[in-house]
């Protein structure tokens, strides 16, 4: 039985993450071979994921990171004095 666009949308993340069973994956693959719109949704969703994974890994800016560490390190040392 061939998959509809709506069904494909529901399975899209599982398809991208390779979590669909073989039969459903084959149905999804078959659907996308003939449905240009779903192909575009797949490609642009994968590009969305790629962009966030590449660009989203922000870190604490260096100066603020040092100040935070210094305050927390002091608190850790105080705790050691009290429990030591």
């Amino acid at each position: 039985m061939s998959m509809t666009c709506e069904q494909l949308l529901g399975y899209l993340s599982d398809y991208i993450d390779h979590e669909l069973d073989e039969e459903l994956a084959a149905d999804a693959h078959e659907h996308m071979a003939t449905c240009q719109n779903c192909r575009v949704v797949l490609d642009t969703t994968q590009q969305t994921i790629f962009l966030f994974r590449e660009q989203g890994r922000r870190v604490i800016p260096a100066g603020r990171r040092e100040r935070l560490f210094s305050r927390l390190h002091d608190a850790f040392q105080r705790r050691n004095l009290i429990s030591g």
Partner: protein
């Protein structure tokens, strides 16, 4: 529940921290400060509040070192505290958050509206600064309950189970929210970029 290897690592790290081992503390900060900052800044969009979340999460761990039971890993525990502190900040700003149950009842997916293929646009016409701003704007439009799940699952690439433990929801709900977040963000980026295809 954590696996045996994680349990052993948690136990030995905890023993080192309890005896005041500074290298163990430095390692803990190096391993988790940026991660919980990423969750906090993603949820709050405010540097000062995000720094507070990082600071208070670690302070709470320092306070609880002697009573920490180790049922979860130190990392999961820190993430969970940071998540709850971030939600507290959001509630302080906006006391009436939509009920999670109401949002979960709506099982419709974000149906794709814009079907232009913009995959080449970021490389072709957008510089890094503009790209970062676009991604920040897109993620800021996500409801908080989806935003946290997206950050944990997609950006930090935590497992479904660990994400569920941090957010206090079922693994099934994590999968649903993650899927919806992806579709929502795809649509927002398509709105921004389709005219440049």
């Amino acid at each position: 529940m954590i696996d045996q290897a994680t349990q052993a690592a948690t136990d030995s790290h905890l023993i080192a921290l309890r005896r005041g081992d500074e290298a163990a503390f430095e390692q803990l900060f190096a391993d988790y400060a940026d991660k919980i900052y990423r969750l906090a800044i993603g949820l709050l969009g405010n540097d000062e509040e995000a720094d507070h979340v990082v600071q208070d999460s670690f302070l709470r761990l320092i306070e609880k070192l002697d009573t920490f039971e180790g049922r979860s890993s130190l990392g999961t525990w820190l993430y969970r505290v940071a998540y709850n502190l971030s939600i507290d900040f959001i509630r302080a700003r906006r006391p009436i958050l939509p009920l999670v149950e109401e949002m979960e009842d709506d099982d419709s997916l974000v149906a794709p509206v814009i079907l232009a293929d913009w995959t080449g646009v970021p490389d072709r016409v957008i510089d890094d600064v503009e790209l970062t701003e676009s991604l920040d704007a897109a993620i800021a439009g996500l409801p908080e309950i989806y935003r946290a799940i997206f950050i944990l699952r997609e950006i930090d690439q935590l497992s479904v189970e660990e994400t569920a433990a941090i957010a206090g929801i079922s693994p099934g709900a994590v999968k649903v929210r993650h899927h919806r977040a992806r579709l929502f963000l795809r649509e927002r980026l398509a709105e921004m970029w389709f005219s440049q295809v």
